[in-house]
Subunit: 235 residues, 2 copies
DNA sequence: ACGCGGAGTTTACATGACGTTAATAATCAA
DNA sequence: TTGATTATTAACGTCATGTAAACTCCGCGT
């Protein structure tokens, strides 16, 4: 059952900036067993480039001496919660910790059991769940409108009900209007890569899509056949 | 970006639930000198009545043995951040602290310098001020009205009683009317991030919600299922 | 302490929608 | 016309969902 992952818009992972391999492993494991995904980086450079490419839901940084500069840089570049992790035996001197807080770090915490760290992280994330709906995702092509969040499709002004497969197929079409999709490519996109499936399984879904969308399903004007090649959405 | 200046302005006070007079004084002083107002209560009863009359911006609770019951009660009655303060010499045993976190306490912290406590509180408030202050406490969608402060729901003019879970679920729906929530996303939002939970648990609560809300629960017109995807509130 | 009751969770099962296959008809290109 | 490609339909198995009910857990009152 691969269905759940696609629509949920999976939360960003926890980004761990830790030098010690051993520590990284144990944290990674602790988070993984609590249902969190993690990414690990070991250098400042890697941290910053990772931040450019992905959006973690929280960052844990192993605290160092004189870390202010890049912590500030990090804080400026993202609003994601930052946890400063003090490793080693000697506790972080008070004024050092306070400096972190002044940099708007969300939590400075001494090395504890991984379980407790996970609990603290979870407590922070509870507060940071975005108030829903950052950017509504919807498409338009011709007189077809598709709202991915609402899972709604309108053709010529009135809503039509699509099954999950139909919806996904139409989504492929509308994301590249006019482009021809071979059966095999459509199968890969909708059913998943490497799914051996009778090619003509798609035909049936195309058919039912046409039944629901076309004004005259017998002479398709929206989803048109390109003989010998595949199907495309007429723009 | 997170602006620290506006936070200290006019804003609910910090509610301190501390028994020891001396400790109360010192905390009060520390917060006062950092621009926070405080209220102090010394008994559970006073805490709960104060909560009914005012809306603090954060609550600090001196941790006791076996505090779960009223912490839970507190957590259910408000969304304000709660800090569990461990006083005394012996550190809080691990699993005890974890219990607090499971009750959705925001931070469990051992007695430190007042300055550091203030810094930690400020870090939490940075995250929580926007929701507390500018999030509407009252929603309306169709003929559904929801008052978060009063914890009341009205459908078509008359009040219905919802359990805490039901209430939270409906809240997610009404904050983004029409948007489809996958089971997993709803679980994350209501039960908390990373809680592995049988997806089916949600169905049951949806069912009881329908029983209470729908005119004809057999044919849901308000909370509709989007097969293979999730549920949404029909607008 | 004990039991009661409500809330939440899990289990189990019936139902019906959905996806797939296969078989047949229609259409198009040589 | 003939073979290949596509359209259509029916049938069937699987899976998602709805629902009831049992069970656990916790708070509350006796």
């Amino acid at each position: 059952m691969l269905t759940s992952s696609s629509i949920t818009g999976r939360q960003g992972a926890i980004l761990l900036f830790v030098r010690a391999e051993l520590l990284a492993r144990s944290l990674e494991k602790a988070f993984a067993s609590n249902g969190f995904q993690t990414m690990v980086v070991a250098t400042e450079a890697a941290l910053l480039t990772t931040m450019k490419e992905t959006t973690p839901s929280l960052i844990i940084v192993e605290r160092q001496q004189e870390q202010s500069p890049y912590i500030r840089q990090l804080r400026m570049s993202t609003t994601v919660p930052i946890v400063s992790l003090v490793v080693g035996e000697q506790p972080c001197p008070d004024d050092e910790c306070l400096k972190d807080y002044e940099q708007e770090v969300d939590l400075v915490v001494a090395s504890q059991t991984p379980r407790e760290l996970v609990a603290r992280v979870r407590a922070i994330l509870r507060r940071c769940v975005p108030p829903v709906e950052l950017a509504p995702r919807h498409y338009r092509a011709g007189n077809i409108r598709m709202d991915l969040d609402r899972h709604e499709v309108m053709v010529a002004g009135h809503t039509i009900e699509l099954t999950p497969k139909e919806f996904k197929i139409l989504q492929q079409f509308i994301e590249a209007p006019g482009r021809v999709f071979s059966r095999q490519e459509m199968l890969n996109r909708v059913w998943g890569e490497g799914y051996a499936l009778e090619e003509h399984a798609l035909d049936v879904h195309i058919h039912s899509l046409r039944q629901k969308m076309e004004t005259n399903p017998a002479e398709p004007g929206l989803i048109v056949t390109v003989r010998g090649v595949g199907y495309k959405l007429r723009v």
